[in-house]
Amino acid sequence: MPFDQKRINGPESSLLYTQFIDNDNKFQGKNLYSKGKRVDGRERQEHRKHAFLLNTISKAKGSCYIENGNTKIICAVFELREIPRISKYSEKGQIYCDFKYAAFSRRMRKSNDENEEKLMSTNIRTALESTVCLHEFPNYQIDLYVMVLEDDGAVLATAINGSGLAFIDASIQCYGIITSTSASIINGEIFIDPTSEEERLKNDTNKSKSANLTLSSISSMDQIPQVFFHGLADLSLIKSAKEKILDTNKTHVLYFKKLLSNKIANVRA
């Protein structure tokens, strides 16, 4: 652990105890799809149960706490402020996204994983830039803060879902509701909404890492605003994964609409 003067420091270096555990209990890829079900009892196409809570942070303009299985993410949107440090007037508004993993959220504790966090921030930002009506607030910037409290797979998809809802909770005009789902392609099979253990698996045949595809769609339009893919997979598999994800996204829009209409009903009452 590099010495950080601004925090309380522990010892110089520490080891993960999980590497010393006997292999008997370790998750083996062979059990991935045995007896017709995945390790946690789901079908291949089945999405985990999710829960949402709007307006969780009292100090934020809009916020959303989202749970997708065990993945827990909180998103907060704050008031508009002028875009700092620019010289020209900007006709469109901007979104500033700050994505952070909490130090205890993953298997390995890393208090600063800036590169990956920046990559996720950019992905979330580009996904939301397509839904938010940026022309409504020229020269202004909206701040979006996303924090992952527990990572059990499909983080990017869950974060995009939560951020979209947080924007709507903040009463910021959007073109539509953005929904996102993640899929893993392992050993030629497609698994929707992988857990973190499934995401980490390698293909049996060529020991390459399994592929992971995250795709978002906007409810009102027939367009895909964001795709994030990494890994090695056949083009035909990617195509069918894309179709499955788009179907899943469509079903989620109904849930989100119900959630939002409940919120408005409560406000009116």
Partner: protein, 272 residues
């Protein structure tokens, strides 16, 4: 904006004074009444110990990750506990967006002092093999919503997470230097004391308010944080401001003692 909110924005001091003169607070509490406390343990599966505490709307989550390390040569049978709180723009617009803010640093050190002043954890419990292998507990706290009294909530989150901690059994062979971890047997650590902090503010030099919200904190004369442990005084933090009369101070300590009893009874209910 409603009339009330407008009045509150224009003259917050007068707004609060109108309530306090009638021995009430804007949210309907008595002057020395606390907001409802919600304690939730074992919330995060990836952490070895975790807790989420809510005091009204102020929310802090604590997650403890345990790792193995060599102990300090000057203290060969002591483990490490490293608390760290993150106060970012996520919880309130008043914090800096990037980097470690001054408030985080102050709170970090205060938490550290409260934890070790009270003798809460005996670091020798974290020792696996003297001079060779000890546990390091990285206690990371994240404030999710700052509506006043963050220190109270943070210290309670830390204590609850430590109490809910489950460490696997580790065998260290002194001859072969091989480490073996058995994930199936999990044991917690023994907490010798449970320090509970209470925050008060003074308003217009005569009124004492317990558990301030962030609006009340911003117009307070001074705020005092008192940590008690088993009815004994463990830590007092008053960063300047107006002075307190000694009777006021004594009544604060009594209130803090009462609050501690309540919190301890809550914790006992949860950890039955």
């Amino acid at each position: 904006m409603s009339q009330e909110e407008l009045y509150k924005t224009i003259n917050p001091v007068k707004y609060l004074r109108n309530f306090v003169e009638k021995s009430l607070r804007p949210d309907g509490r008595d002057l020395l009444e606390f907001r409802p406390t919600i304690i939730n343990k074992d919330s995060i599966a990836t952490a070895e110990g975790s807790a989420i505490i809510k005091l009204g709307t102020t929310t802090v989550i604590c997650g403890i990750k345990a790792e193995l390390a060599e102990p300090d040569s000057s203290e060969p049978s002591n483990g490490f506990i490293v608390p760290n709180i993150e106060l970012t723009k996520l919880c309130s617009p008043k914090y800096r967006a990037i980097g470690v803010s001054l408030d985080s640093q102050i709170m970090n050190q205060t938490l550290y002092n409260i934890l070790f002043n009270s003798g809460c954890v005996d670091l020798t419990e974290l020792c696996i093999a003297k001079g060779k292998l000890v546990w390091v507990l990285y206690c990371d706290l994240v404030c999710l919503d700052d509506d006043g009294s963050v220190l109270d909530v943070a210290s309670l989150a830390l204590i609850t997470a430590l109490k809910s901690l489950k460490l696997p059994k580790v065998n260290y062979d002194l001859d072969t230097k091989v480490i073996k971890v058995d994930d199936t047997i999990k044991k917690g650590i023994n907490l010798k004391a449970l320090p509970v902090t209470t925050t008060f503010i003074t308003f217009e030099q005569k009124y004492l308010l317990a558990d301030p919200t962030s609006d009340e904190e911003s117009i307070a004369d001074t705020f005092v944080t008192i940590a008690t442990c088993d009815g004994q005084l463990s830590y007092i933090y008053q960063p300047g401001g107006n002075s307190l009369a000694s009777e006021q101070f004594e009544s604060l300590i009594k209130q803090a003692g009462k609050r501690e009893k309540y919190i301890i009874s809550l914790l006992e209910n949860i950890f039955e």
